[in-house]
C-alpha cells in the first residue's frame, strides 16, 4: 500500500502543480499540456514517455487496489459477525473512510479521464484545446460538475491524510515525536494538495479564469 501510494502521490503533486499553469493564460497552459505529451523527446520517440507514465500509473493503481482488496477481505474474514451496535469512530474519520473514500476516488478518476483526457463527457471536448475544455467544464451553469469535483477532492484529501501518515508508519516510523510530526506533515500535505486542486475549478466558477 505504502509503496504504490507513494508513486501515486508523486504523480498527484506534479499534476496539481501543472494545473496551476492555468493562471498563466490559455496559450501557456495549452503549450504546457502539449509538452506533457512530448516529454522525453527526442530521446524517446513521440508519446512514448506518456505511455510509459500511463503504464506505471495504471500498474500502481491496480496494485494499490489489489492490496486494499486483500486487506479488506482479511478484515471481513477477521470479523465474520458484525457488531449490533456499530462501533463509534474513536480514532480518526480519515482512517475509517479509507475504503469508501478509495472507491469514490476511483469513480472520480474514471469520470475525470472521460471528461478532460478523452473529452467524451466534456462540453468542448477538443483534445488540442485543454484550456477551453477546463473553462467550459467549470462554467457557473455547470455548478454540479464543480460540486462533484469538490467532493471528490475532499475525499482525496481525507484519503491522503491518513494514507500519508500510514505510509510513514508502515515504513517504520517509530517514535512518539516522529508520530506527531508525521501526522502534522500528512495533514499539511493533504490540505495543500486539495487546495491546489480546488483553486482551478473555483477560479473558473468565479470568473477569475475564463
Amino acid at each position: 500500500m505504502a509503496v504504490t501510494g507513494i508513486i501515486l502521490v508523486l504523480f498527484l503533486i506534479a499534476h496539481m502543480l501543472g494545473n496551476l499553469k492555468v493562471f498563466t493564460g490559455a496559450t501557456s497552459f495549452d503549450h504546457y499540456a502539449h509538452w506533457l505529451r512530448d516529454i522525453g523527446k527526442p530521446v524517446l520517440p513521440g508519446v512514448w514517455f506518456l505511455w510509459i507514465q500511463r503504464g506505471v500509473l495504471t500498474v500502481a493503481v491496480l496494485a494499490h487496489i489489489a492490496a486494499a482488496t486483500v486487506l479488506a477481505r482479511r478484515s471481513r474474514a477477521a470479523r465474520p459477525v458484525r457488531y449490533a451496535h456499530r462501533p463509534k469512530v474513536q480514532g480518526s474519520y480519515a482512517a475509517r473512510t479509507m475504503r469508501w473514500g478509495g472507491v469514490i476516488i476511483l469513480l472520480f478518476v474514471i469520470y475525470h479521464l472521460l471528461d478532460l483526457t478523452t473529452g467524451h463527457l466534456n462540453p468542448v471536448g477538443d483534445p488540442s484545446k485543454p484550456y477551453s475544455n477546463v473553462v467550459a467544464d467549470f462554467a457557473p451553469e455547470r455548478w454540479y460538475v464543480t460540486l462533484f469535483y469538490t467532493l471528490a477532492i475532499v475525499a482525496l484529501g481525507f484519503h491522503l491524510r491518513h494514507g500519508a501518515f500510514s505510509a510513514f508508519r508502515s515504513l517504520g516510523q517509530q517514535t512518539p515525536r516522529g508520530e506527531a510530526r508525521a501526522r502534522a506533515a500528512a495533514l499539511v500535505f493533504a490540505v495543500a494538495l486539495s487546495a491546489g486542486f480546488l483553486v482551478v475549478p473555483f477560479a473558473v466558477l468565479t470568473g477569475l479564469v475564463s
Binding site: A78, A84, Q90, G91, H162
Partner: protein, 254 residues
C-alpha cells in the same frame, strides 16, 4: 438509577445469538459495571433464568480477563479504563446500554459475553519472550539499561492482553497487542539476540490466528485501557522490514 440493558445472549459456539433486553432498577452510581451485571444475574437466577456469562477475575483492572463492547465502545465510555473499573457514575438514569462480546474470528464466542482469546497466548509462544532458562542469568547490574529505554519498555509492557484492541479495530487486527510485546523486548539489551526472529514468528502467528491486517486506523490505542501507544506498531513494522530484508539471508554478522 434505572437502566435498560440490551445484552448479547448466545448459549454456545453453535448458537446464532441475539440481543435480549433487560430492565435493571436501583443501580447505585458507586457500583462498578460488573457489579451492576452481578445484580442483574442475582435477579435472573431467582427468576429461574440463566445468568449472563461474562469473564472477569481481578476486578481491579490488571488481569485483563474482563472486556465487553459497551454501546459500541470497547470497555465502555471512560478512556483508559477496563470494564471492571468502569463505574456506573459514567451513565445516567434512563440510559439504554448495549452490551456485546468482543467480535473477531480469532476470538470465537464461548457463551454470551465470554470469548476465547487463546490466540494471544499462541502469539506469545511464537516468540514473545527472551530465552533465559532459570539459573542462567548474569548478575542483574551487569548490563545497565538507559532509563528512557526502560521506561518505554515498561510502557509497552503494561499491556494486559484483554483484547480490546482487536475488538475495536475495524480490521479485527491484533497488531497493537503483538507490537507491544515486540517493542518491550526490542528496547531492552537482553532482547537483542532474538529481536528479528521474534518479530517474524509473532507476526506469522498473528496472521495464522485469523486476525486482520493493520491499516494504522488507530482505534486500538484509543480503546486500550493501558494506553499502549500506536507508535509501537511503527517499531514492529521497522523490525519486521529489517527482518524480512536485511536479515533475510541469516548471514551471521549481517
Amino acid at each position: 438509577m434505572n437502566l435498560t440493558l440490551r445484552i448479547w445472549r448466545q448459549s454456545g459456539p453453535e448458537d446464532k445469538g441475539r440481543m435480549v433486553t433487560y430492565q435493571v432498577d436501583d443501580v447505585s452510581p458507586d457500583m462498578s459495571f460488573l457489579e451492576m451485571l452481578d445484580v442483574l444475574n442475582e435477579r435472573l437466577i431467582l427468576a429461574g433464568e440463566e445468568p449472563v456469562a461474562f469473564d472477569h477475575d481481578c476486578r481491579e483492572g490488571i488481569c485483563g480477563m474482563c472486556g465487553m463492547m459497551i454501546n459500541g465502545v470497547a470497555h465502555g465510555p471512560q478512556r483508559g479504563t477496563t470494564t471492571c473499573q468502569l463505574h456506573m457514575r459514567q451513565f445516567s438514569d434512563g440510559d439504554t446500554i448495549d452490551i456485546e462480546p468482543w467480535r473477531a474470528q480469532a476470538f470465537p464466542v464461548i457463551k454470551d459475553l465470554v470469548v476465547n482469546r487463546s490466540a494471544f497466548d499462541k502469539i506469545i509462544a511464537a516468540g514473545g519472550y527472551i530465552t533465559a532458562p532459570t539459573g542462567s542469568a548474569p548478575e542483574a547490574h551487569s548490563v545497565p539499561v538507559a532509563k528512557a529505554n526502560a521506561d518505554a519498555a515498561f510502557e509497552a509492557a503494561a499491556c494486559i492482553g484483554c483484547g480490546a484492541c482487536v475488538a475495536a479495530c475495524p480490521n479485527g487486527s491484533g497488531m497493537l497487542f503483538t507490537a507491544a510485546k515486540v517493542t518491550q523486548l526490542s528496547l531492552l539489551p537482553q532482547g537483542q539476540p532474538e529481536r528479528y526472529t521474534r518479530v517474524i514468528g509473532m507476526v506469522e502467528a498473528h496472521d495464522e490466528a485469523g486476525f486482520g491486517g493493520c491499516t494504522n486506523a488507530g482505534e486500538c490505542t484509543v480503546a486500550c485501557p493501558k494506553g499502549i501507544p500506536l507508535n509501537t506498531i511503527g517499531r514492529l513494522n521497522r523490525d519486521y522490514l529489517k527482518a524480512t530484508t536485511k536479515q533475510a539471508d541469516n548471514t551471521p554478522g549481517s
